[in-house]
Amino acid sequence: MIALFKYGYLIAAIFIAGDVVNTLCCKETFKSSFPLRFSVAYALGTGTLGLLIFYLSYGGGTINFKNTFFLSLPFIAYFIYATIKGRARLHSGMASVKPSGGSFRNGIVEYFFIILILASVSIITFRALYLPKHMADDRAQWGIKAKILYHEGTIYADDFFHPERVLYHASYPPLVPLLESLFYGALETMNDRAGKMPFPLFFFSLLLFFYASQRRFATRRHALMCTAMMAVLPIFVTDVHGNPSSGYADIPLTFYYTIAAFSLFSWIKDRQREDILLATVCITFAIFTKREGLVLWGTAILALLLYFLRMHRSRFLKKAFSGAIFALVPLILLIPWFHFQSTLNPGPWEQDFQLPHLTGAYLYPLLHRVPPILLSILNEFLTVRSFSIAGVIFLIAAAASPKASLSFPHAFLILLPLANICALFAAILMYPWPWWRNFLHDMPRLLVVNVPLIMYSMSILLYRGTMLKPFRQVQ
């Protein structure tokens, strides 16, 4: 009973901590609808508590429920204070998800989309909470680290440092194992299913954020349609590597990255300080979730630079400061992690690729990999296996409005996935080990981080074009 109470407290503490960080950093966002507030609170809560626990352990503290409780107390105290003062109100924004009024036919379409979303979330939640971990990396990579962090109570566990210890990717970012270990700590047992609690919440929050982002420009029905489209993609719904119920880090990474990328896009459009702050914080969490986070951060900076190059000098100077925040703050916040990572000693077979590899002599023998990698990427986007026909719909929508899709700021949404896919292509091409073909097998989960961006871009193009008039009429 006490364990269940602690478990419930931990979930509440995550949301409250996130909500308070949201209030302090992004005052405008705090006043927004329930879907936006819920999803951003979950992102900021998981990231903030995870990072604070890491700082604590880096400074010699113990990772356990007691310390998590004390770390979350200031957030809870502020939340109670703000509630009494009337600053933190739970908005009734959820009403915006209800079907709109009007004819029964209008309502039934929206009910259909809601049913699809609920069915998808239910299937994922059932699989996450009923089945033990049964994929590969959820146990071999992330799960074992969570067990070590819970059992040893520190990031300095011998297991991470000993070169002959059976463990791989010990130097990978620890946010996901840290979160899992907090749930183990609350229940005081290394329970597979209890540790998977955060994952369906990541997916649900991703859908809510995706919906709320579309509501900035689109009608409820249009936003619901595109959210339903994303919710039912086979990559999310089927029980494959990296799906939201599996305990992989791909969905948390996708979630943090989506918030960062959408916020950057909004910042380019509307120049709100809150957007660049939210983007900076969330890209920091993305870097702290998976190594790919660093690449995503790098491609986002490149896309921003491209945008800056097109600007007039006077405007550039105004924006450069915010751009510098996005480029520098994640590095500062993650100094302890980078330092700790540098003390680890990964096995020689973990070296992915190094800068000296960028020579003709190294690359030429690897060129035979180009056709299978390209085919694998195309296969994922143009067949129904992982992304249904969402890729095809996106291409039709882009072809229908080529000017709109290729001009800034919209081009930003297309540039980012393109740059990410190029980076993935290069990483597989230059991978120095014979098991590079595993990446082709894992292609769906490696590409999934780009899905919300492509779907968002598609949503804008479908809405701005005149292609779906009936979906523009009901607010």
């Binding site: 699809l116 069915a119 998808s120 299937i123 059932f126 699989r127 009923y130 089945l131 033990p132 049964h134 590969a136 146990r139 071999a140 990579q141 799960g143 074992i144 067990k147 070590i148 059992h151 297991d159 000993h162 070169p163 002959e164 210890r165 059976v166 463990l167 791989y168 290394m190 329970n191 597979d192 299913r193 349609m225 339903a228 489209m229 039912v232 086979p234 719904v237 089927t238 029980d239 096995g347 020689p348 077979w349 129904v384 249904s388 026909i389 969402a390 095809v392 719909i393 039709i396 929508a397 072809a399 229908a400 098991w435 595993n438 097998h441 479908l462 074009g465 005149t466 292609m467 779906l468």
Partner: protein, 166 residues
């Protein structure tokens, strides 16, 4: 042109949602079947059902080897996709699994008796060895060491979950 695009989009969306319903129904019925099969089973029984031989093997090892022990894992079975040793490591924890050599973690043949360096074993507190050479040598054995010398061994039946001491 605009009309053609409109038709194409509407058609694609219809196909998309028809496929989505098909996938969801397939996944929901698969979930229902799983629920029916696993209903009432304990977590351990679910793991036996879902994970199979690997879990059965790990379960046998867990029954033999005390918690917080250090174990040397010797095997020539390298399967990058199934990652047997990494998954075994997950199920044996808090028992600590070690490779003999992380640059060559899968030695082709099991070492000769007395072929392991006692100082190396002592340095890692290793008191147990898991030998897994199922194909070439028919060996699935857990060996207990005392001061680097084998004092007891257990032969495992990976599929049945049984083990026997000689």
């Amino acid at each position: 042109m605009q009309k053609l695009m409109h038709t194409l989009i509407v058609l694609s969306l219809l196909i998309f949602f028809a496929h989505a319903v098909y996938v969801l129904i397939g996944e929901a019925s698969a979930g229902y079947k799983t629920l029916k099969t696993l209903y009432g089973l304990s977590d351990t029984q679910k793991q036996h059902y879902l994970i199979g031989d690997l879990y059965t093997f790990a379960d046998s090892c867990n029954r033999i080897i005390p918690e917080n022990s250090s174990i040397l894992f010797l095997s020539n079975v390298f399967n990058n996709k199934s990652s047997f040793d990494l998954l075994l490591n997950y199920y044996l924890y808090p028992r600590k699994l070690y490779w003999l050599n992380n640059t060559d973690p899968y030695p082709a043949a099991p070492p000769e008796p007395g072929g392991l360096d006692p100082a190396w074993l002592r340095g890692r507190n290793i008191e147990w060895i898991i030998l897994r050479y199922p194909d070439d040598y028919g060996v699935n054995t857990v060996v207990q060491l005392e001061r680097g010398i084998a004092v007891q061994s257990f032969t495992l039946d990976p599929a049945g979950g049984h083990y026997s001491a000689p």
